[in-house]
Symmetry: C2
Subunit: 154 residues, 2 copies
């Protein structure tokens, strides 16, 4: 199996398969005479394991841990559960963080007329108080165009 076929069989892009090999997450693939990587069912199985772990939000580092536990037949299931439990806690923390943002934003959006008039509680909140940006001493427009952000996309 070439890398393209292994990619199709595992759902991991060829680019990522090479990357996983480079960082040592998977063992270096065997090579044919023409220097092509060759894969068997076992390697594809490992790639699918990684793919599944990634889809559950595990980092590559956590995935490495899980992969080692998977291959360690004398593992204790508590070790696996610990990794999963820590990951759940991390996800829940991030979910709560984002839910807080959503709550605030929904409140602000609800209070915003969303019409042709300029008064906007969303901007008022972002500004901290209700004042406009350049009212005290500055020349006014402080955003001079995000050239690097908006233009350098290709």
């Amino acid at each position: 199996m070439n890398i393209g076929e292994a990619s199709a069989a595992s759902g991991v892009s060829a680019k990522m398969i090479r990357y996983y090999e480079e960082i040592g997450l998977v063992r270096p693939a065997a090579r044919t005479g023409n220097n092509y990587r060759v894969y068997g069912e076992a390697e594809v199985h490992v790639l699918r394991f990684i793919k599944r772990a990634r889809s559950l939000g595990f980092s590559l580092e956590e995935t490495e841990t899980l992969l080692k536990l998977w291959q360690d037949k004398s593992r204790e299931s508590s070790a696996v559960k610990d990794v999963a439990t820590a990951h759940i806690a991390d996800l829940e923390r991030r979910i709560a963080e984002m839910q807080g943002m959503v709550k605030t934003l929904k409140h602000l959006a609800h209070c915003c007329g969303g019409n042709h008039r300029p008064d906007c509680p969303i901007l008022d909140d972002l500004a901290g108080d209700g004042s406009a940006p350049g009212d005290s001493s500055a020349p006014g427009d402080s955003a001079a165009g995000l050239s690097r952000i908006s233009a350098d996309r290709h």
Copy 2:
């Protein structure tokens, strides 16, 4: 005000203030004779605006848009509301995605004994079927140590 004071007053690190200037999110600060950046209240106000927008999860690109709207006195509040609404939708999409992960993980963790024995439904799920990694034809351990991931931290 030097950059350190502006940083303390705004909550934005000096590193980030320089970066925001570099990418054009904020106007280049005035300089003193010794080439130090100087900031006034208006600039700090802008930095706080950015800080608040970031804390609500807006990207720098979205923040740029909001900043321009803030400074555009003839804006229509609907434009601001549109940005916020799109961001809320994005957050909710990501929250739902993570909640799906949590749901699956909690189910698996619930089914896992978490004891000294090796059988583990979490690993079984990641493996797709119930088989072990190297059972078909491979030499066994496919994770050869994530040297780049685990060792190169400094």
